[in-house]
Symmetry: C2
Subunit: 185 residues, 2 copies
DNA sequence: ACCTGAACACCGTTCAAGT
DNA sequence: ACCTGAACACCGTTCAAGT
């Protein structure tokens, strides 16, 4: 019991150190450096997280949970056009806020069991949104949940890519994406 | 003279080794490893290329030159709608073919003087295409050459991101982008 | 002039040794 | 059980020493 508490505290220290590094702009998140920041041995990092990817996933968990919540809310919006817009906007905003989440979504896979459930839930909610949107004729019939994942990752990349003047472009790119996925008719 | 020939041969060997690695799927392009493959000392790599970025740029030069050619051709197409489509399609296709070019375009900057000229030329051609397209009302008025750079980088990222099933998505994503940048009216 | 490769500072990952 | 940190294999980059 006291061992468990200890372990949990150590784990929290590592996550805090990692988060601090991310916020300081270090997207590399070196295991050695995080361990040092957290005041633990490197081995302890690996005991808790299988590797850098697992660490990223653990960091992304909270954002991811919030995102799933928003996706579910989007799926039950009365106006599904607004729902779709909300889903895409939320996915994009979260990615820009949390680089760890962006990494997980871009990889499209998940090592950590906890996140697997969240990813499925997100894709499931996206499927519902798309099904309703398609029925109402507000989205192209060939757009899949995975397309939304890829495309939002792409827009994030576009916003971030090259220079910092990109933040201002976010709303325009969002609009371009939203208009681009409208039905062809 | 003979020294120059020697140097040129060495340089060619390094570029060939780098290209071979890229084609083998190693996007990291470690300087040490490339040097070894090319049978030269690491120092020689650094004498010819300031760093990894410079090496990437040298590798991208040929593709980039071709791309500029296509962009200029697009700028003088009789039907500027087709010209715009051609510009975007070419930029995207080249990026998917040549990871080095994709890297340079995504960074949006250039260290190597040769490439600087090509980047300016590309952006200039894009500006012409957009000016004509805007005049004809086939594109949103607020789309800039840099937006096209960012957005094509983003679409490439979307195509590549997570899993290999993405190649099939290319045409659809292109269509989504093309439709998304149409005038709002 | 140009090239070589040892050397230094890192980073990922493992594992014997400690508590 | 859990943690530590030395150790190994890498990679970027520099620079004294060779030709």
């Amino acid at each position: 019991m006291t061992l468990r508490a200890d372990s949990a505290r150590v784990r929290a220290r590592m996550l805090a150190a990692a988060r601090a590094r991310l916020e300081a702009g270090d997207l590399e998140l070196p295991m050695n450096a995080v361990a040092k920041d957290a005041g633990v041995g490197v081995g302890t990092m690996y005991r808790h997280f299988a590797g850098r990817q697992a660490l990223l996933e653990a960091l992304a968990e909270e954002s991811f949970r919030d995102l799933v919540g928003e996706a579910r809310a989007a799926a039950v919006e009365p106006d599904i056009g607004a729902g779709l817009s909300r889903l895409i906007r939320a996915t994009l905003r979260r990615q820009l806020t949390d680089p760890a989440l962006a990494g997980v979504l871009a990889s499209g896979e998940v090592e950590y069991a906890e996140l697997g459930g969240l990813l499925s839930a997100l894709m499931g909610a996206a499927r519902e949104v798309l099904a309703r949107a398609r029925a109402e004729g507000v989205v192209r019939a060939d757009v899949t949940p995975d397309d939304l994942r890829r495309l939002t990752c792409g827009i994030r990349y576009a916003v971030v890519s090259g220079g910092d003047a990109g933040e201002a472009a976010l709303d325009r790119y969002l609009e371009i994406l939203m208009r681009g996925i409208r039905p062809v008719g």
